[in-house]
């Protein structure tokens, strides 16, 4: 049986990408091998370790357990989409400052899983952060420093949101002629 490739269009880190892919191609292989986004790692390949975690439409997902064809039409973010070297994302900044990594192998997946967690719950307790890490494995840190980093990131992100909200509220007032 001849099997046709399928056209897949996805937005990856804000950029639209289109490709003809073999149906059996895993999303993680599409990202790494076809798009060269090797920040997304493969640890176990059996859906356990979470090193391959990315977000799909904002939700944390293990990209080794999804086909590229299933992602057609989706918005994808990988660790490369978080921040730049000069302007780190609060999650990256906090991992750096709190020493949330040692070898760094798990780190991209852990950060993306935690981005997914903070979307669900922007103000998690320490226990909720630990529960949120069920789907990732880190062989180095013992997790404590990761928890501290996520707590810090959550705080920075919440403050940034608050400022943003104030700005939006102020601009609405201006718009309404109240200021």
């Amino acid at each position: 049986m001849a099997i046709e490739n399928r056209k897949v269009t996805v937005t990856v880190n804000g950029q639209e990408r289109s490709a003809e892919v073999e149906p059996r191609k895993l999303l993680v292989h599409y990202l790494r091998d076809d798009l060269g986004l090797t920040g997304t790692h493969i640890g176990c390949d059996t859906s356990q370790c979470g090193a391959c975690t990315i977000t799909v439409n904002g939700d944390a997902v293990k990209s080794c357990t999804m086909l590229a064809v299933q992602a057609d039409g989706a918005e994808i973010m990988t660790v490369e989409g978080l921040g730049t070297r000069n302007e780190l994302h609060p999650m990256q900044q906090s991992f750096w400052e709190e020493h949330g990594l040692q070898c760094g192998y798990c780190t991209p997946g852990v950060m993306m899983a935690m981005i997914g967690l903070l979307k669900e719950n922007p103000n998690p307790s320490e226990e909720e952060i630990r529960e949120g890490m069920e789907g990732v494995i880190c062989r180095c840190t013992g997790y404590q420093f990761i928890v501290s980093a996520v707590q810090k990131a959550a705080k920075i992100m919440a403050e940034a949101n608050e400022k943003n909200d104030q700005k939006v509220a102020a601009s609405q007032l201006v718009g309404e002629g109240n200021l």
């Binding site: 049986m1 099997i3 046709e4 399928r6 073999e22 149906p23 059996r24 895993l26 292989h29 390949d45 059996t46 859906s47 356990q48 979470g50 975690t53 799909v56 939700d59 944390a60 997902v61 293990k62 357990t65 999804m66 086909l67 064809v69 299933q70 899983a113 997914g116 967690l117 669900e120 949120g132 069920e134 789907g135 990732v136």
Partner: protein
């Protein structure tokens, strides 16, 4: 790990999915979240010729309350179901159970319908399904039919899903308003799947006696079961520590304990007692 070659199509509607199944001549396999199917395909334990992606059928993502039943669309993910206001309010046991499945990433992809259709003997959801007297809503070539959970899942990974049909939703009984519920799970530390999971709903009437009780157990054998001996021992009695201990001793009665590399049958029998006692104590004492 890469699966063997297969073809891929997707369906926009239930009818289209059925048609694609028919056209595939037995080669087609539905894929929803893929979190049971893809791991098997990567290990090449299953090699379907065509995957029919149903994840874009929006009508299967709805939740509605119909009288004393909650109808949950097959494509609701575990995460969505755990947060859904109607589910949290009327069938908190369901929300509680799916919240304990796997991890956040798994709950973002895995679906209620896929969990039931896969019939994994170690899945969490079947415990809640037997307790909430679930009915599986199936759409096939000859229209819709409803199958009780006991006549749908009949063995490990074995269901009575008719050929060329699709599970569109699961209907759960809404327990009486005065009841409390719990899902208590002892998970395998590596896989996250339950070595045992006990789902229970219990209510105490105005006279102080137990007037509603359902206990379901999953993970210990080939299939989830209702612990009816436990229920009968408790019904009509005043809840007490001694009574719950006595009832929990019968927890393994209706089940067949499996023995594997995770746990021996004796150990599982003991887990049935211990986890049933803990689950019931948490809602009755």
């Amino acid at each position: 790990m890469i699966p063997v070659k297969f073809d891929y199509t997707h369906a926009e509607t239930v009818d289209e999915a059925i048609k694609l199944l028919q056209e595939s001549g037995g080669e087609g396999k539905l894929i929803a979240g893929g979190h049971s199917l893809l791991p098997l395909m990567k290990f090449r334990l299953t090699e379907p010729g065509v995957l029919i992606d149903i994840s874009r059928i929006d009508q299967l993502k709805e939740v509605k309350k119909e009288g004393d039943r909650m109808i949950v669309g097959a494509l609701m993910t575990h995460n969505e179901a755990s947060k859904h206001p109607l589910i949290k309010e009327h069938v908190p046991l369901l929300a509680d159970t799916v919240r304990q499945i796997g991890d956040l990433q798994v709950r973002n992809r895995g679906t209620i319908g896929g969990n039931i259709a896969h019939a994994d003997p170690a899945a969490d959801l079947p415990a809640a399904a037997v307790v909430l007297e679930a009915e599986v809503i199936v759409q096939g070539e000859d229209g819709e039919e409803t199958m009780g959970i006991d006549s749908f899942i009949i063995g490990p990974l074995i269901t009575m899903l008719p050929e060329n049909s699709i599970v569109t939703g699961i209907s759960f009984a809404i327990p009486p308003a005065h009841t409390k519920s719990v899902y208590l799970k002892y998970f395998h530390p590596a896989s996250g799947y339950p070595v045992i999971g006990v789902a229970a709903v219990a209510g105490v009437g105005a006279d102080g006696n137990i007037d509603y009780i359902r206990v379901g157990i999953t993970g210990v054998g080939d299939i989830a079961f209702r612990a009816e001996s436990v229920e009968q021992t408790l019904l009509g009695q005043k809840p007490s520590k001694a009574l719950i201990q006595q009832a929990a001793k019968l927890a393994a009665e209706e089940g067949e304990m499996g023995s594997d590399l995770f746990a021996s049958a004796e150990y599982r029998e003991n887990l049935c007692r211990v986890y049933t006692e803990r689950a019931l104590s948490s809602i009755l004492l």
